[in-house]
């Protein structure tokens, strides 16, 4: 398959994986945790490399998942110690990210990661990094990794759908009827971490954050049903990936940057034009309401 198609497919997979899981982060008011985890996985990747001395994707996935979960736990711990949530998030992620950057600088000769790569990813190189598995034609590594994570996420989400839903909406009731709220929380955090790291390598930290939040936020303004929100969010993720790619080739600029930008543009459009919860929609509803209430 052509070069272009692979980039679009991989970016779309990022859009779906992050978009769907991001909905839960938005509904649980954990959006900033997405930001935090997407920064701290850098440390996980660097540590995995320094310990295993290889660029093998599996080690990085494990390293990032561990550091991601650790981030969530440390934030929870500081929060529990009475530090307000935004501050705990801010302290933890900047610290881990700083250490990640320092390690990269110190071991610059041996680490093939550079910080720009971590931020912006190297999606343009995705089609050159092919592997063959069994009888399948050569496929990009990033594609295989993202597809497996997506499938894993979907299975977990289907298994724990109602638990994810009730712990997001009403954790107190969930706990009272015996649903392990903390387990579900860390399950979600684990999913966020592996999704982040699987996406991270190809698209960089910034697009991961954008894809985690922007599609979900757009979808939230268009529907009143959780299942619809998840599907719409995946759709917006794909749309941002495709439109971002073409904008990037058109203006000859960063691919992941354009995708992040387009996810924002799509959000802005929804924010203004959504029929029920958009700016214009609300205005029209007000008008209708007024004319109805003045009618005899």
């Amino acid at each position: 398959m052509s070069y272009e198609i692979w980039i679009i497919i991989v970016a779309s997979l990022v859009g779906i994986t992050c978009g769907v899981i991001g909905c839960f982060l938005i509904l649980r008011k954990l959006a900033m945790l997405a930001d935090a985890i997407s920064h701290t996985v850098l440390l996980g990747i660097v540590l995995a490399f320094l310990i295993s001395q290889s660029m093998n994707g599996i080690y990085m996935l494990i390293g990032a998942a561990i550091v991601g979960l650790f981030t969530a736990m440390l934030i929870q711990f500081l929060n529990h110690k009475g530090i307000q949530e935004d501050a705990s998030i801010g302290v933890v992620f900047t610290f881990f990210f700083a250490i990640g950057v320092i390690l990269i600088t110190v071991f610059a000769d041996s680490v093939h990661l550079d910080v720009d790569h971590a931020l912006m990813g190297e999606i343009a190189f995705v089609p050159f990094d092919m592997v063959e598995i069994g009888f399948l034609p050569p496929l990009p590594k990033a594609f295989i990794m993202l597809l497996s994570i997506l499938i894993l996420n979907i299975i977990l989400m289907m298994l724990f759908y109602k638990e994810l839903k009730i712990t997001s909406f009403d954790p107190a009731l969930a706990a009272a009827i015996g649903i392990p709220v903390m387990f579900i929380h860390y399950l979600l955090m684990g999913m966020v971490s592996v999704s982040t790291v699987a996406s991270f390598d190809s698209v960089g930290a910034i697009l991961v954050v954008a894809m985690l939040i922007a599609p979900g936020a757009s979808a939230y303004l268009l529907t009143n049903k959780l299942s619809h929100m998840l599907c719409l969010s995946a759709f917006f993720g794909v749309l941002a990936a495709i439109s971002g790619y073409y904008v990037a080739t058109w203006i000859d600029s960063s691919i992941s940057g354009s995708m992040a930008m387009m996810s924002g543009v799509l959000f802005a459009l929804v924010f203004i034009f959504s029929p029920t919860k958009g700016l214009l929609g609300k205005k029209m509803n007000h008008k209708r309401f007024r004319s109805e209430s003045t009618a005899p």
Partner: protein
Amino acid sequence: MTNPIEIRNLTVAYDKTAVLKDVQFSIPKGSLTGIVGPNGAGKSTLIKAILGLIPKVSGEIKIYGKPYKAKDRLVGYVPQRGSVDWDFPTSALDVVLMGRYGHIGWFKRPGKEDTILAKESLKKVGMDSYANRQISQLSGGQQQRVFLARALVQDAQVYFMDEPFVGVDAATEKAIIQLLTDLKDQGKTVIVVHHDLQTVEEYFDHCILLNKEVIASGVTEEVFTVEQLHQTYGGKLAFLDKGKVMVEQKR
């Protein structure tokens, strides 16, 4: 026969300051009990501690003679309406269905039977025509009814409700109290956190006066006396003509 609820020497603390001290009471089966006390008296904390939502420092909590376990399905819970985000993308029916989640078990979805039960209890609270309405489009009273329907569908023996009358219209308040009385008549035990002193005698047959410790508990006529209310509220009581009491609430 054991009482549905027995609490002994319960102490709960936040950051080393005791919120509940040595709380002790029991509630008989088939009663409608109001927990009454000033702001910050630990009323919600008491319910949460009983349900194991916050850890206790010491003491014994028994529900039908056994420590509380969610899987016994003996308890239904109605949290404060303000404790959840009503912008959540879900419908009234869906919220009621959540009450069945404890019964459904892992890896299964709510089935037809659960939906029928959920619809029935929406009907009981007079909300059947709003089943598919998004929850943010309901009024405060309607939201509270949905919460109540969700508790009914839990099919429990003991119900805990945290301030169900806050921000609801008079019609809803009447409907809720009627439902609670029905539950009581079916032999269920209902415990309500309440702060409107004027309606205590009218609504509840049992009453617990709480201000960090239990001032008095038992049958309303015996407990709900001016003297004991004074003890509960300190000097913050003012008296009305008809022998009724009200609290100067600082909001």
